[in-house]
Every structure is written in structure tokens, then in C-alpha cells.
């Protein structure tokens, strides 16, 4: 097992030089007073802007060598959901809409008058409720039986995974369903620089195997703002932490290169290394790095070291504080962001409060208002970091983003299709489209309003939660 050392000093020196130049560049616009947010109309959705996020990503689930995808099309009854308001997210809202589901997927969606009830399907009349896709939580630690956030055995821990910890009846899982969350990226904590591999799972299933969406969902990396407390003498400062992450990832790259050479008949099969095996998937672009990185200086490191230098599929989760200052550079490099749970920023220079998600969206000409491959308006997500913020309050995070200026429509996208796109699962979840998973939330009103609640919740076509008004879970 290889451990981080200081042998990559040359690379490090180069990176420091690159960092210094970039930080100067990044700081220039931030010293100027930012313009008030312009008033303007929201650009129209031009349809799915992308099918896959990373250009070199395998085109189909079957082509994945390392990542395993969960099952689809599991048996579920035929349902026809009628609702006064259906929000497909990627298409305009449908008044008096209908969604037909069976065997885990959406079979039809449209206006009630256009769709006939198929024989043998049960009609579920949701009345004046809003029907929306199940929400997606891109950063949480919810599913395990006890205090399993962190195992800080080493500064980097690529041998750890959350796959074996999924407990679907865990309190926070139940609350996820009551709060309208159907898919979660359950990742290790940020106590070390590399916490381990996260799992993309549904929040309900007859077994964890059934609930699985993709493993690895991501590799969890924390560059700063938490892992400083990790074990050993390496990892107390930025230089050591960067070196540790880079060394481990480069070990994985060497292993991947050797494996690739073997596959092309140019070398022997490398000796199986369980620590490095999953890292191969990173270089095959099968799943992203989800990086806990907060202030803009550290986001810059994410950009330089992980996205540009190593060329990996990278997602910034938990992108708080003033990370939005990097939005121009991030858009160029294709680095999406999930903001939250700290959804506002107080600028002490001007006594101004601004909304983090609104800042990503609106600010000046760098605002992410357009659809850009992988980022832009598709690249703004939201997360809770539960149990730091309870899982059921995911919608509140988006609501507060909207309160502080994010358009309501984008707030809903941040909970659904955007998170799905940058985690690479938008072919399965994130909107109400024919052929996608039947994950539906039936809400009493606007899902972002804290006064609204989930009346009925459907995961993989099965009704798994009905609210009891006498004792509502949420």
C-alpha cells in the first residue's frame, strides 16, 4: 500500500507557481464593488444540454468497467397520478397533468385530457397538489447506523467505501423520503483529505442492492476546512494536504496506466491492489470526485490540481462562503457547484448580504445564467450536508437561495436535474420524463415553501410514504 510522501516536490513547485498566478487573476475582480443584480428574464430551457457530463465518459451504463449500476425496471404496480400541477422541470409546468408509472419507470406524462388511463392501472388523484420529481441530495452522510462519518486512519483513505453502510430504515433516510428526497449521494465525511468512495442510492428500496443507483457515486475529497484535524503529521497545512491527495491520485493513475497497457496487450496484468482498483474508475471518467472545498482559494486548488492538472471529472459540493468568486474560471474548466448549507454570504466591506446561489446565477457577465455544457445554469446545485443540517430540510436550503435572489425555477432545478446532471445520473433521475425512474413527490403546494409538505412519495414506482396528518413525520 502506497502512502503519500514528499517525493512529488517538483509537481508541487509547479503547482504553487500556477496557483500564485491564478490567485492574482482571481482576486482582481473581487476587489471591485459588485454591481446590483440586474433584473432580467430567465433564459428558456433549450432542452437537455448534455447527455453525459464528462467528454470522455463511457456513453452507456454497460461500458462502465469499475462503477456498478443498480438495477432498473423492478416490478412496481401501474399507477396513474393526476395532479393540478405537474412540474417536469425540464419542460414547462403542466396544469391538470398526469403521470403514468409502472415497473419503476415513467411510462407517460402529459395533460389529463390527452392521456387515457391504461387497463389495470390504479388511479391516484392528488387533487390540487404539486407533482414534482424526487429531489437529489448531492452531499450527505445520512445512511449509516451510527457515528460513521469519518475514519481518519490515514491522511488519504481510498480503501474506504460507504457502500456497506447503507441502512434504508435509518432515521435520516426515512426523513429524506418525508422531505421529498429520493436519491442521495452518501459520502464519507471530510475529516481526512480523501474520505473514501461515496454511494449513490435511492432513499427507499426493498434492499440496499435494489436501492443502488451507482457505486462509486463519487470519490470524496476534502481539500481544506476540515481535514486539517486528520491523523499523522501530514495534512496539517495546505502543502502537505495537496501533496497527499495528489500522490494518492497519481498512484491510482499509475495503476490505471498499467491496467490500460495490459488491456492493449502491451504489458502484464498489474497485481490486484484493492486500494487502487476503484481509483481506476476516475481515470475512465466513470464517476466524479466530489470535493469538499469552501473558500475560493481552495476552490482554485480544486480547479488547478484535480480538474486541470489531473483532468478528472470534478464536482464541488458544499461550495460555500465566497467560492462564487471563481465562477468564471470554473465555467471555463467545467466545474459545477452544489452550494449549501450556508446559503448566504455577508460582505463586510459593504454591509451587504448576498445569496450564494444567486451570486452564482446572477453576478455580472460571469453569472451562470446560460446553459453551458456541464456548468452554467445546469451547474448550480444545492445540498444539506446532513446530518449537519437535517436531511428533511434540503428544500429549505433551496428556498433560502430563492429568498436571496435565485429564480424560483432555478431553485427547483438545483434540487433535481442540475444535481443529477453533474453527478452523471440524469439519464435515470432528475426530471419527469418518459423512461426515467418513477421517483415522484406529491406536495401540498410549492415544495420550496416551508409550509408545504409531502403528501405522498414514490420511489422506483412504489408508494413508500404517505403522510399521517395526525402525526406527520415532516
Amino acid at each position: 500500500m502506497t502512502r503519500p510522501t514528499y517525493r512529488s516536490a517538483v509537481v508541487l513547485t509547479f503547482a504553487i507557481a500556477a496557483l500564485t498566478i491564478s490567485s492574482l487573476r482571481a482576486q482582481t475582480p473581487s476587489t471591485e464593488r459588485r454591481d446590483p443584480i440586474p433584473k432580467g428574464s430567465i433564459p428558456k430551457d433549450t432542452g437537455n444540454s448534455l447527455d453525459v457530463w464528462h467528454p470522455n465518459r463511457p456513453a452507456t451504463e454497460a461500458e462502465h468497467q469499475v462503477a456498478k449500476w443498480g438495477p432498473r425496471g423492478l416490478p412496481s404496480p401501474g399507477y396513474v397520478f393526476f395532479a393540478e400541477k405537474v412540474l417536469p422541470i425540464t419542460a414547462p409546468p403542466i396544469e391538470n397533468g398526469v403521470v403514468v408509472t409502472r415497473n419503476g419507470v415513467i411510462e407517460a406524462i402529459g395533460r389529463a385530457k390527452d392521456i387515457a388511463v391504461p387497463d389495470g392501472y390504479e388511479v391516484v388523484d392528488c387533487g390540487d397538489a404539486w407533482l414534482v420529481p424526487g429531489f437529489i441530495e448531492p452531499h450527505c452522510h445520512i445512511a449509516s447506523a451510527s457515528f460513521d462519518l469519518n475514519d481518519t486512519v490515514h491522511p488519504t483513505n481510498p480503501e474506504f467505501r460507504t457502500l456497506d453502510l447503507i441502512t434504508l430504515e435509518h432515521d435520516q433516510m426515512q426523513m429524506a423520503r418525508a422531505g421529498g428526497v429520493s436519491t442521495a449521494l452518501y459520502i464519507p465525511g471530510s475529516g481526512s483529505n480523501m474520505g473514501g468512495f461515496g454511494t449513490l442510492t435511492k432513499t427507499w428500496g426493498r434492499s440496499p442492492d435494489e436501492a443502488l443507483v451507482r457505486f462509486p457515486g463519487s470519490l470524496k475529497i476534502a481539500q481544506a476546512g476540515n481535514p486539517e484535524r486528520a491523523s499523522g503529521d501530514l495534512g496539517a497545512g495546505m502543502m502537505g494536504m495537496s501533496d497527499g491527495i495528489r500522490s494518492t491520485l497519481l498512484d491510482g493513475k499509475r495503476y490505471h496506466d498499467a491496467y490500460l497497457a495490459f488491456q492493449q496487450g502491451k504489458g502484464e496484468k498489474p497485481k490486484f491492489d484493492p486500494t487502487l482498483e476503484l481509483l481506476r474508475g476516475l481515470y475512465l471518467h466513470e464517476f466524479p470526485l466530489s470535493v469538499h472545498t469552501q473558500i475560493y482559494q481552495v476552490v482554485l486548488q480544486t480547479l488547478q490540481e484535480l480538474r486541470l492538472e489531473l483532468g478528472l471529472w470534478t464536482v464541488v459540493v458544499h461550495g460555500e462562503f465566497d467560492a462564487f468568486r471563481m465562477r468564471q474560471e470554473m465555467r471555463e474548466a467545467g466545474l459545477p457547484i452544489a452550494a449549501g448549507p450556508r446559503v448566504y454570504h455577508f460582505d463586510t466591506r459593504y454591509n451587504e448580504i448576498s445569496g450564494l446561489m444567486a451570486d452564482w446565477y446572477w453576478d455580472g457577465e460571469d453569472g451562470w445564467r446560460d446553459q453551458v455544457k456541464g456548468v452554467g445554469r445546469d451547474g448550480i446545485g444545492v445540498n444539506t450536508d446532513s446530518p449537519v443540517v437535517p436531511q428533511e430540510q434540503l428544500t429549505l436550503q433551496a428556498a433560502m437561495g430563492v429568498r436571496l435572489g435565485l429564480p424560483h425555477e432555478v431553485g427547483l432545478r438545483a434540487l433535481t436535474i442540475n444535481n443529477a446532471r453533474f453527478l452523471g445520473i440524469d439519464h435515470r433521475v432528475g426530471s419527469l420524463d418518459v423512461g426515467k425512474d418513477a421517483d415522484l413527490g406529491v406536495w401540498s403546494g410549492d415544495p420550496l415553501d416551508p409550509r408545504s409538505h409531502v403528501k405522498l412519495f414514490v420511489v422506483n414506482g412504489t408508494i413508500c410514504y404517505r403522510r399521517n396528518p395526525a402525526r406527520p413525520a415532516w
Binding site: 432515521d171 448549507p341 455577508f346 451587504e352 429568498r403 436571496l404 396528518p469 406527520p472
Partner: protein, 457 residues
């Protein structure tokens, strides 16, 4: 060489009181719990014009007026004379020279009253007014959130009623308006050790006897001028304040904590025993008490209502029931609605957890602190209250729980002119405060403050 040093020293001296004033609200809440210092000081009467007639009139016209009592009048006028409300309703004649604030298309409601708070210029302890900072920037932030009054130095538990709390107003720039009243709230644990419980029962008995003796004395005094007033027995002073209605007794129930990191299996899961102890204390006193965050209130709302007690809840606080243990019944989102149904006055507050805060602050998580007090009321609506009922939890009912409902909490003639003008439904998550008025003075205007100037509306 010496001159710059001297100058900087002078500058430091000049600056330092202000600096400490900025900080103390946050970090020095001071003097809580037992031994709460001197008895409450004489309260200064609200400033009145010398000739009895108001000097300055202001009218808020045309707004959708929520009275705070649960009622709502559309297109009504709120007439203010100096620092008090003179009238609310339609067809109110405006005296000559009235300043008119047009609130057409807007919502008007009482300033929010928060039963917990911190910072916002509050000061350090009795007498609070001595250390209030009327220029704390957090005051503006609180006003932007709609908060016009809050309880500073909320009491904790203890074996006898104690506390050093004050209802503080966010009267920006006017220190003399900042402390509404001291000593209206005292705290104690609901469950006392056996010896202490006996002592408390005895003191209540003595206090009641003293009150009877006091009545006898007052009756006798007219006939017998030499009659001597009875002396209050030692240790009964605070209990007498509770019996006379001067102070509300907040009972800490001390249970039901929930640690989300513990896999959902920690915490007491029920505080029914503590609530029943509190009910016993209320019965002994013969006055209602205030239950601080009773986890199991939903199981015994009628019992609580029967003792005229009131409740503080954080509706989104959550403790799961334990299916393996029938005694650990857990929380219920419908608790606030059930209490309201039973007729219990109810105040809401944010959960105090890892990031939930009692104050406004600029470093927390939005939606979990006093920057958005209505979010907590909104969760009560989620649990089954109506929006107009929920508004009471931040206005009149909260003022009752603080024992100051004779001054604030609703838009009624004679009450303090603490008024908000909002750009929409007070309970909606996108609504912003446009104007905040405290004691008849406009102290916050969204359009003229930098705080939310960047938000796209």
C-alpha cells in the same frame, strides 16, 4: 515621536468603548441563572407628551393589516401618535400635519417579538440599559428580519425562580427606548431534587400567606392608621412577583435532546414526567407557567391548557419515537397545531443546535436563526396551524409569554407603535420587511439600507 503614540492612545481610548459595545451583545450575555442580581429596577414610563396630546402623527394607510390577534383588516389605516398606536381601522380621520406612509399593496403587521434572542445591541445584564448599544449593526439586521423586540438573557433552569432577563427593543439610535422591561421572566427547572421541591412548596405557601396578610393590611389600613404592613418572608420575593403577575415563570424540562450523529437513538424520547411536574407547580402557584420546548406537549395539550400555561416550541425540533420502547414517544410536527387547538398561547423559536442560533449574526446558516423568524412559524403551519394562527406565535402570544402583552404584540390602540410594512404575506419565505417602525420611529427601510441591496427582487 511621542505625539503619534499619544495620539494613538487617545484614539484607542475613544474607540474602545464602542468596540466592546459591538462585541458584548454576542459574547457576554452575562448574569444568567441563579442569583440573578438586584430586584428589577423601577421601570421608566413610556415617554409621553407633556400636555397629554401627541405631538407627531404618522399614518400607515391602505395596507393589508394583520392585527397580530389573528384578525386581518384590508385597506385599513394605522394611526400613530408619537410612540403609540392611536387607532386601527377604516375611515380614521387624520389630524392635520399627519405624515402619511402609503402601504397600498403592502402588508402591515406588528413587529415580531422573539422569545429568544442574542446580540442586537442587548447589553450585558441588569440594569440592561447601561450597556445597550443602540448603534450595533446587528440591530439593523434584526429589524430587516422583522424583529422589533426580544428577550435578552433568557433564563435557564435552577432550583428556585431566578433570572436576569430583559425585553429589549430594537430602537436603533435611541438608547432610552431600548429596554422595554426587566424582570418579566424568571426561570426554574420543572423537576427539582426532593429537598428543593419541598422548599419551593413551602415558599409558595408562605408567599400566598403573605399576600393574604397584605390584603388584610390594606383593608385594615383605612380603619387603623397605625397598622403595620406585613414583611415578606425571606426568599419569597421572586415567587411574589410570579403570583402578582409581574413575572412569568419559565420551566425548563431538561430532556428530549436529539443527537442526529447518534443514529437517531439518543435523547430522552419523552418529557411527559417533566411536563406533569410543571403542571403540579402551576397548580400550586395558581398561575400559569411557561413550558420551554416541551417535547411531549402533543400528548397532553388539554392538561397544559387547563392550568392556563403557555408553551414555547421549536416546531422543527425532532426526536424520533423508539419503536422498541413505548415510553419514548418522540416529537410531533403537529405539536404546535395541537397546542393551538387546545387554546394554549404559543411562541416559536429556532432550534438551538450546531448552527441554529438565537441571534441574527452573519455567519450562520440562513433559515436556522433569527434572520428568518417566520421560517419557524412556517414549520408550525406545516404541522397543521393556519398562517394567521402562526403569526400570533411571533406577535401577541410571544408578548404574552414575555409578560409584556400590555405594551407590544398587536396593533391595538394604546400599544407601542412597533410596526412592520412587508412586501407580501408575512408567513411567506420570500417576503421582505420594507419598513420597520419602533416606538413610532422609522428605524429601518429596505430601500435605504445596504443590507439587502443586492437581492434581485
Amino acid at each position: 515621536m511621542r505625539l503619534p503614540i499619544l495620539a494613538s492612545l487617545v484614539a484607542l481610548l475613544l474607540l474602545s468603548p464602542d468596540l466592546t459595545a459591538q462585541r458584548r451583545g454576542r459574547f457576554n450575555r452575562g448574569g444568567q441563572g441563579e442569583g440573578g442580581g438586584s430586584p428589577a429596577a423601577e421601570q421608566p414610563a413610556a415617554p409621553q407628551a407633556t400636555d397629554g396630546k401627541p405631538k407627531k402623527h404618522t399614518a400607515i394607510t391602505g395596507g393589508d393589516v394583520y392585527l397580530g390577534t389573528g384578525q386581518r383588516i384590508t385597506g385599513a389605516t394605522v394611526l400613530i401618535g408619537d410612540d403609540k398606536i392611536l387607532a386601527v381601522g377604516h375611515k380614521i380621520e387624520l389630524p392635520e400635519g399627519t405624515t402619511v406612509i402609503d402601504a397600498k399593496g403592502k402588508t402591515v403587521c406588528p413587529g415580531f417579538v422573539c422569545v429568544y434572542g442574542a446580540g442586537m445591541g442587548q447589553g450585558r445584564g441588569t440594569p440592561w440599559i447601561d450597556s445597550c448599544n443602540p448603534f450595533d449593526p446587528e440591530i439593523k439586521q434584526g429589524l430587516a428580519a422583522g424583529v422589533t423586540s426580544f428577550l435578552a438573557g433568557a433564563p435557564r433552569g435552577g432550583n428556585s425562580p431566578a433570572g436576569d432577563a430583559a425585553v429589549v427593543k430594537l430602537a436603533w439610535g435611541k438608547v432610552e427606548d431600548m429596554v422595554l422591561q426587566e424582570g418579566t421572566v424568571l426561570g426554574m427547572n420543572a423537576q427539582l431534587p426532593a429537598g428543593e421541591r419541598e422548599k419551593f412548596r413551602d415558599l409558595v405557601k408562605q408567599a400566598k400567606e403573605h399576600r393574604r396578610a397584605q390584603e388584610d393590611f390594606l383593608a385594615k389600613k383605612s380603619e387603623d392608621p397605625t397598622a403595620k404592613p406585613p414583611k415578606a418572608p425571606a426568599g419569597t420575593e421572586k415567587i411574589l412577583d410570579i403570583l402578582s403577575g409581574k413575572s412569568k415563570l419559565w420551566l425548563q424540562l431538561g430532556g428530549g435532546g436529539f443527537n442526529p450523529f447518534g443514529g437517531g437513538r439518543t435523547g430522552a424520547g419523552s418529557d411527559l414526567d417533566a411536563i406533569r411536574s410543571a403542571m403540579q407547580i402551576a397548580a400550586e402557584l395558581g398561575t400559569g407557567v411557561v413550558l420551554v420546548k416541551p417535547l411531549s406537549a402533543w400528548l397532553c395539550a388539554d392538561e397544559i391548557a387547563a392550568t392556563d400555561s403557555m408553551v414555547i416550541l421549536s416546531p422543527r425540533d425532532r426526536v424520533p419515537a423508539d419503536p422498541a420502547d413505548p415510553d419514548r414517544t418522540g416529537s410531533n410536527l403537529a405539536s404546535a397545531a395541537l397546542c393551538n387547538q387546545a387554546g394554549i398561547p404559543l411562541a416559536v423559536t429556532c432550534p438551538v443546535g450546531m448552527f441554529g442560533g438565537a441571534g441574527v449574526g452573519t455567519n450562520g446558516l440562513l433559515g436556522m436563526d433569527l434572520n428568518t423568524p417566520t421560517v419557524d412559524a412556517a414549520f408550525a403551519v406545516r404541522g397543521g396551524m393556519t398562517s394567521s394562527q402562526a403569526l400570533r406565535t411571533l406577535t401577541l402570544d410571544a408578548a404574552k409569554i414575555l409578560g409584556v402583552d400590555h405594551r407590544i404584540g398587536s396593533l391595538e390602540a394604546g400599544k407601542d407603535a412597533d410596526i412592520l410594512i412587508l412586501d407580501g404575506d408575512p408567513m411567506h419565505y420570500r417576503t421582505f420587511v420594507e419598513v420597520a417602525i419602533v416606538n413610532g420611529r422609522v428605524v429601518y427601510e429596505l430601500a435605504n439600507e445596504p443590507l439587502y441591496s443586492r437581492i434581485h427582487r
